[in-house]
Every structure is written in C-alpha cells, then in structure tokens.
C-alpha cells in the first residue's frame, strides 16, 4: 500500500479486490482480517471496508498526545466536575487511596471529528484550588499540572494497560462495549512525595500508539539485551 489509499478511503468490494489481485475470496478475507486486526483498515457494517485513520501518537517522554501532528484540532469537552469521597470501587479501578476527598473532573478529548479519549482527573482539594479552571477546556492534564506553581508538582508517572471498554466508556468514545481500550494511569507527585493529582485516560486501542526516544548518557554496553 504505497499511499495510493488514504485514511478514510473506501476499499473496493471483496469481489472487485479478488479480481484486481487475482486471489480467491478465502485468501482475500484472510488478509483483510489481518489488516483489520492490526488496525490498518476498519469494516463498518453495511457500509464497507475503509482505510483506518492514522493512529495518534502519545509521547512517553513528555506525556503529550498528538504532539507530532499540528493539523489536529484539539478540544476538551467538560462532562462534569464534582467533589467526591473516594469509595472502594473508584479506588480499585483507578488506584487512588480510599477515603480521601478529591475533586473529580470528567472530560472528553476530541480531535475533531474523532472522540479520542475519556479523561478522569482527580485533584486533592489543595491542588484543585490551584488549578487554572479557565484552561480546563483547552489544555492537557500534564500542562494543567505543570502550570501549577504552588504547591507545584515535581514528577509524574504513567502506567499503561489494555482492557475492554465498559458500557459507559463505549458510549463516550463511540465504540462498542468490550472493544479493546488502553487505560493510562497518571500520578502527579508533589514535594511531599505523595500524589496530589491522578488522571485516567481511556482511549480506543486501535487509534493510539505510544512513543519513546531514549538517549543514554553513556553507551549501554550489553546490559540491556533486546
């Protein structure tokens, strides 16, 4: 596929493809299935097979999303803000200490027209007070947290896991329940060494990839063994 088909383009029908490539229907279906599994094409029931949109880059070096593509039109849609006391189910799902008060903000990250991720942010009351709320509709959680001066954050960690979309996540992302989603759990650590904010980003697994560029100060002699 040398770029003659672009994302969003419809593929010819199965019958036409069989003729063009002079292969059997079985062979064609196998290879389409493989392309579908890797997220290269997607089949929309009743409409046909399309070249899938380009995956969005999540940069593990600075935790930014889509930073390599200036054409992306980024929007955050706020869903809700509420003060919660973290109970068991939330604690278990997001790895947040139980029994504490947090401000919980739900947002939807949209790269027009695609709904990219559901974002749930948790701030302790003191950090919530320092958040610039006017930026909630426009900047990422890392920018939001990075701009907090007092009490300020020192470092952040990310853990990425893949699972199946819950019904609610499916509705927000416009995918079916049970589709593969990635869950990024971010924790922001303040001077006390304790996290003052958490964020959980759920994205459709086939729309994202993660990127790292690691430069070693000294050559790493043999010890890492890929």
């Amino acid at each position: 596929m040398k770029n003659s088909l672009r994302s969003g383009d419809q593929l010819p029908s199965e019958r036409e493809l069989c003729e063009i490539l002079s292969v059997s229907r079985m062979t064609l279906r196998d290879s389409l299935k493989k392309l579908c599994n890797t997220g290269t094409v997607e089949t929309i029931q009743g409409k046909g097979t399309f070249v899938a949109p380009k995956r969005i880059r999540h940069n593990l070096m600075n935790f930014s999303v889509g930073d390599n593509d200036p054409e992306l039109n980024r929007q955050y849609k706020q869903i809700s803000t509420e003060k919660i006391s973290v109970e068991e189910s939330v604690s278990r799902l997001y790895g947040i200490p139980r029994g504490n008060d947090f401000y919980q903000i739900k947002r939807l990250l949209i790269f027009d027209p695609r709904r990219m991720a559901v974002e749930i942010l948790f701030f302790t009351p003191s950090y919530y007070a320092a958040v610039d709320k006017s930026k909630l509709g426009s900047v990422s959680v890392v920018e939001l947290c990075g701009n907090i001066q007092k009490p300020g954050f020192e470092r952040a960690t990310i853990d990425i896991d893949v699972g199946r979309a819950t019904f609610e996540e499916g509705v927000w992302l416009g995918i079916s329940e049970g589709e593969a989603v990635t869950r990024e759990r971010l924790a922001f650590y303040g001077e006390t060494g304790m996290p003052g904010a958490y964020a959980v980003l759920t994205s459709y697994a086939k729309y994202v990839y993660y990127y790292a560029n690691l430069v070693s100060k000294r050559p790493f002699e043999g010890s890492p063994t890929i």
């Binding site: 278990r92 896991d161 893949v162 697994a205 086939k206 790292a212 430069v215 890929i226």
Partner: protein, 238 residues
C-alpha cells in the same frame, strides 16, 4: 492485623504477600472459601470480597465451576530504564530462553531500508526469535541488522548470546533507542506461536537502536501477549 483497615482488605493483603513471596504459585488453586474462612475466622462474605480485590488486581483468576487460581504474573516494562525482555523476565523470577526460528541474509527492501537508513539493495541479516520464560512462549521478535557490522554473523548462536551483547563485542556503541508501542488483535501465525487465542489483544513494540554516530544498528518488531506486559514511564517537571 493492623487496626482501622477493613477486614477483607487485610486478608487480601495477606493473600497477596503469599503470592508475591511465592508460597502460592502460578497455576495453583487457592484454598476454598470455606477453608479460608476457617483459617481467618471470618465469614465467607468477607473472604469473597478479599478474593474479588485480587481478581480485579489481576493476581487471581476465577474460572466458573473450577475455582480460583493464581494468575500469571505481569511484568513491568520500564520505558525509561532502557528495559528489555530478558531483564523483564529475570525480574519476574522466570528463566529466560530463546529459540531462533529463522535467519537469513537478504536485500533490505523498502521497509527495512527506511527504518535502518540504508539503500534498498543493501544486505541485511534478519533474525526471527521466540523468547520464552520457563519454557513458555512470551514474545516473538523479528530483528534486522545491516549486514557487515558484525563479522561472520551467521556463525553466532543467538540462542546463547543476546544481540546487544554481540553488538557491544563488535565495538558498536549503543546510544539511543526509539520505541513505539501499539495494541492490536492477534492473527495467525503469531497467535499459534505464542499460544494465544486468535483475536485476543496483543502489544506490538517497534524499536530502532542507534550508535554514537546516529546510525541505526538494528530494528526489532516484538509481538507480546498483553497479559505479559505493563508499560511504565516517568517524567520530571522543571
């Protein structure tokens, strides 16, 4: 037991420490709810809750009609530590091994020429390896090295020697790694080789390693079962 914490959480912590210490091992049953409720002298509802915590954490797997088993351990893939499969496996207390499925000398072709920054007609050495932990397949790797940077590469036993070791021995200085991770659904033949169900979710890692002159010295594609890997990274704020 510590005061103040819910009973079922205390029990799940005890069970967890038994799993971590290896007293309960992968594939084993945990004792029945009835036995556990006797051991801890609490009712079965509390035990059930404690077990549920560990099921959700992924330490235990419940199979209907069969009972509760210890899950396979997930290993952390620490991005910042220039981590790799052998180290990951050693940390999780399994014995790593490697099987070379295929090796060949071939022209780079458009894809590998682009990745390695060489011309399409240049030769490369391609190596397909199955990585195992305790003899169980963990990852499938397709590696390409520009031909000629390692003398007599065909004579090297890659079941015994790691590629990075071999490169370092040939005075290649490894200075930078570019990696991408993405998720996909398995199809054959990868699913068969890794012994996973077709359409189950897998992780695909693409990496390119560069020397001090920023020349690519190898590129590898790794297919790995998503249950085997958890990706971790860290940043600092100014």
């Amino acid at each position: 037991m510590a005061k103040g914490e819910a009973l079922y959480l205390q029990i799940s912590k005890i069970l967890k420490s038994q799993i971590v210490r290896g007293e309960l091992r992968y594939g084993q049953h945990i004792p029945s709810e009835r036995d556990l409720s006797k051991t801890f002298s609490v009712d079965r509802k509390t035990i059930r809750k404690a077990i549920l915590v560990l099921v959700e954490e992924g330490l235990l797997t419940q199979i209907q009609g069969k009972g509760t088993y210890i899950s396979k351990q997930k290993v952390d893939y620490d991005v910042n530590a220039l981590d790799n499969i052998t180290q990951m496996l050693q940390r999780s207390n399994v014995t790593p091994s490697c099987r070379v499925l295929f090796q060949e000398k071939r022209p780079a072709g458009p894809k590998y020429a682009r990745l390695l920054g060489i011309s399409e007609s240049d030769s490369i050495f391609r190596l397909v390896r199955l990585r195992l932990g305790d003899d169980e397949p963990i990852a499938l790797q397709n590696t390409c090295v520009p031909y000629g940077i390692i003398d007599d590469i065909e004579g090297i036993d890659f079941e015994m020697h790691s590629l990075y070791d071999v490169l370092s021995q040939h005075s290649v200085k490894l200075c930078r790694v570019k990696e991408t991770f993405s998720f996909f659904e398995f199809s054959d033949p990868e699913a068969k080789l890794l012994n996973v169900a077709p359409d189950s979710v897998g992780c695909l890692i693409n990496d390119v390693t560069y020397d001090q002159l920023q020349h690519a010295v190898e590129c590898t594609t790794t297919f790995i079962n998503k249950d085997k890997i958890k990706i971790h990274a860290e940043i600092c704020f100014d």
